[in-house]
Symmetry: C2
Subunit: 266 residues, 2 copies
């Protein structure tokens, strides 16, 4: 084992080419200390829980987070090949001369077992992340803007309420048009598909049954997939093209300074 690279405050451990026994000791200590652990090595992975899977030998990066998150990352692909969401427990063992990592979760009952045939590198650090994350231009954001500025959808539209619950789910916007007719609006911040139409349709029907009057249904989206406009018309629904960009200028400008700088630079 080459136990190398301890930094000034022992904040980062770097252990190279450990034997299974040595790795076990290091990992158990790191898990106890709730460190952020990375293991580079050759392994095979079995999973059983909501489904079952087998991954045969290969070199991957294993990540154990202090909240009980497991990630198994292949050399390519944005999604982990195996994982466990936060709250899992980690156990380390040496079986038949091999390092075995057992990850268990209670609800639903799930297990991931990782058996190492080679341990290239172990890193255990104390990551401190007080950073704050903010997102803009999501569907929620678009809803808020369009609720505040219904004229973007149609002149004379008056909001009755946002997010009204009906039997099959939620209506994004519930309003009355300039002629006093009820209007429900389904908002998508990206290209909308037939699925969105079915959603709007089922909301509309449910509400129609309740109120027993004609109701207009409007799908708001930047664009539609191929057959979707046809389906809309067939069902007597309407389409209003709105780009997320059109909403952007109405978003409350808190904490967006850096984002603006970023945009100017790129």
């Amino acid at each position: 084992m080459k136990h190398i690279g301890l930094d000034l405050n022992q904040q980062v451990w770097v252990v190279q080419l450990a034997s299974p026994q040595e790795a076990k000791i290091v990992l158990e200590q790191a898990i106890r200390q709730k460190r952020f652990i990375q293991i580079l090595g050759e392994n095979h992975v079995e999973y059983q829980g909501r489904a079952r899977s087998v991954l045969t030998e290969g070199e991957r990066l294993i990540i154990l987070k202090r909240d009980g998150t497991l990630l198994v990352h292949k050399p390519s692909g944005v999604e982990p090949v195996n994982w466990q969401p936060s709250g899992a427990t980690f156990k380390v063992a040496v079986k038949e001369g091999k390092l075995v990592l057992l990850v268990n979760r209670a609800k639903p009952r799930e297990t991931v077992r990782i058996t190492f045939t080679k341990i290239l590198l172990i890193i255990a650090s104390n990551l401190d992340d007080p950073g704050e994350f903010s997102m803009f231009l999501t569907e929620e954001e678009m809803q808020r803007v369009l609720s505040a500025h219904p004229e973007l959808i149609e002149n004379g539209l008056r909001i009755i309420r946002r997010e009204r619950q009906v039997a099959p789910g939620f209506i994004d916007i519930y309003a009355r048009d300039s002629e006093g007719r009820l209007v429900i609006v389904e908002i998508k911040c990206r290209r909308a598909s037939r699925e969105a139409v079915l959603q709007l349709q089922s909301y509309l029907k449910s509400l129609q049954k309740e109120t027993d009057t004609h109701i207009r249904g409007i799908l708001v989206a930047p664009s539609l997939t191929k057959g979707t406009l046809g389906l809309l018309e067939q069902l007597g629904l309407e389409f209003r093209k709105i780009e997320p960009q059109q909403c952007y200028k109405y978003i409350h400008q808190t904490a967006t300074r850096r984002l603006t700088e970023f945009t100017e630079n790129e």
Copy 2:
């Protein structure tokens, strides 16, 4: 810079406490060689593309994969706080004395910028992963089993075809019952919600319009969410409770030996 821990074949580079300039050289080389790169450090992240986001200073793990995948992982949570799917391009720069990582994607046009205020550790390895991944007990698996053994759904059921396309999407199973009536089956391998019912309903209607005869609709699932059975009955559809476990014994037993061992051990 402590350039340490090169293994025998220089398969793994470990660089600790690099200056921004040193880090730039190492990373550019590693990117050119399409290595699997991990960077531990303090940084802030801006994203602009389908949405926009800002993440203020904190310590995180950055992963650059050789297929152009970016991951930014906080010390907790299974999901990356920022990311880019495969196909992005990586650029490294030093701006105002800080290491800056620029990740660009063409379609949709997106950019992630990571600015490092501290670089704790850089690791660049040549992961070789020839492993094969197999999953069991998915919805597809369940479909295959139930197509091969329709008697699990109902006695006398004869499959006409699997995955028949109709206007709103795909029908999982299209069959005729013992009395010669048409039957369409929608299969869910988990608890089914109203959405599944709406799906089945829209398929059924579309097919009914086409054939102009009565058609039975059956929803197969291990269980239903609360109001779902009521909705089913209201629409004249049927429910058949089938557990994924019931299908398991019919799954073709290739490459499942290790999985079986695993199950026996846990």
